[in-house]
Symmetry: C2
Subunit: 286 residues, 2 copies
């Protein structure tokens, strides 16, 4: 069955869901996106995603074409129309399509584009959560405003393609000898002293919604947390490593560049945090 997508006010079959070639998302990567998980037909941590959406569009002075309340209604309607039980809702807003192509922002009567579509994914029962994933490392060659969740993702495409070619599930990006984050996830380690370490938010990384929730949930359970950069040497000397993202929740990292992390098996803290996050997700789903 052709899934249903949303494009600028209309629900249409995904195969008919199109935007103008003049859309600034297509021509300039002049757009912002968010991905929210769906469990049992409900949106996970969506307020956090919509709050980050508002922040990102504000940073590039892009006005949302709908209120975030209305955006959530559309997300829910799209989930319902697709009878989506478990998966993802993707949304993208761009600075719209002008009459031609010119770098500066278009006139204010050019309406931003809002697109959404869904995909099925059984995040809770993902095999990779039980086995853990391998990661590779690549240089972080991205721009200096990685805190903005823009669709200018070519560097991440190349990083994650390199990971795929290496049979790895994620690429950790390295700058000045330290891990910034994964191509589409946040990076964590658990030190030998039982401290959970993940890089602090700054322009160097995306402020991960799942990262934020996991840090909060861990702190509530008296787990020790340090938000600071770490190196691959530290990660390889760690008790555990893991990633977080909206589309994977928490997943153990069992090898980095072909070298095992600890005994090369998912660790108890990553596994526990995954269970805690899934509990939080289900309890707060909307």
């Amino acid at each position: 069955m052709d899934p249903i997508a949303y494009v600028n006010g209309s629900f249409v079959p995904l195969s008919d869901a199109k935007v103008s070639v003049l859309d600034r998302g297509f021509l300039f990567a002049d757009g912002i996106y968010e991905v929210a998980a769906v469990l049992d037909g409900k949106l996970i941590d969506n307020a956090s995603h919509l709050s980050r959406l508002e922040r990102s569009v504000g940073e590039i002075k892009l006005k949302l074409p709908e209120t975030v309340e209305r955006i959530q209604e559309i997300q829910k309607e799209l989930v319902a129309r697709n009878k989506l039980a478990n998966g993802l809702v993707y949304l993208q807003v761009t600075r719209g399509a002008d009459k031609g192509r010119d770098f500066p922002f278009p006139a204010s009567d050019v309406k931003p584009t809002l697109v959404m579509f869904t995909s099925e994914k059984d995040i809770v029962n993902a095999a990779s959560a039980r086995t853990g994933i391998n990661v590779i490392t690549v240089p972080d060659i991205r721009w200096e405003r990685r805190d903005i969740k823009s669709v200018a993702l070519l560097a991440q495409v190349l990083a994650k393609q390199a990971a795929a070619e290496a049979g790895a599930g994620e690429a950790w990006m390295i700058q000045d000898g330290q891990v910034t984050e994964g191509g589409s996830s946040s990076a964590f380690i658990l030190t030998q002293d039982d401290v959970i370490v993940t890089r602090h938010n700054s322009n160097a990384i995306l402020p991960g919604c799942t990262r934020k929730a996991v840090v909060t949930l861990a702190a509530e359970r008296q787990l020790r947390i340090e938000e600071r950069p770490f190196t691959i040497a530290e990660a390889l000397a760690a008790k555990e490593a893991f990633i977080t993202s909206a589309s994977a929740f928490v997943q153990p990292v069992v090898a980095i560049d072909g070298k095992k992390v600890a005994d090369g098996k998912p660790g108890p803290i990553a596994t526990r945090l995954r269970e805690i996050y899934i509990g939080f997700a289900k309890a707060t789903a909307v």
Copy 2:
């Protein structure tokens, strides 16, 4: 009249020229573009643009869906269908639309997208070529592979929007105290010793086609050239400053951040190089 655009094998009215919301150009900025000028219905320096296109797609392992010979035929047909005398032909190739959204490259049966459209512009008689333009400076926050002409242009959008808000015609981007290039042009100065200076090609800048032609044309006329970075202080102490691009040819820069370059008027070398370039363009147009 609605102009005619080209989308994946079809010539269609621009208002009907659309791509899937799953197009990787829209979702990931996973695409490359080129802009060639048109004078008297003929393409300017197009072999250079197509050569750069081949290089750019090669750097991101994107296979062109047509030969460059066929692409030039399409460009010419589009110029003819639009009865375009003077203007620009824009072309963009992306890694196509898969069935869903996933960062790594899609399977090889996903055909790349090829889009083209034209716009009218009287580059030769542009008023700004007679008056010169003001530029502002902004930090260069782009990624580390600026030699690839990708559509991940959000940093350039923000730079050129800042220029537009300041009433300037271009933004010169600064890294480590030196000019890299303009938001959509190459940057040049003429020193007090009559040396034309423009930054050397590297990953830090786009290898400009017009830049390359102007450097060659200047060298053929025994003008002295140095390809190296320069600072804004050097530019403000220079005899002249100017930019080059396919859509502007050569244009004098008469002020930087509100400070005059020399006497604040277009200089003789920029004006001469502009005339020389236009002569070259017309003589080699196809």
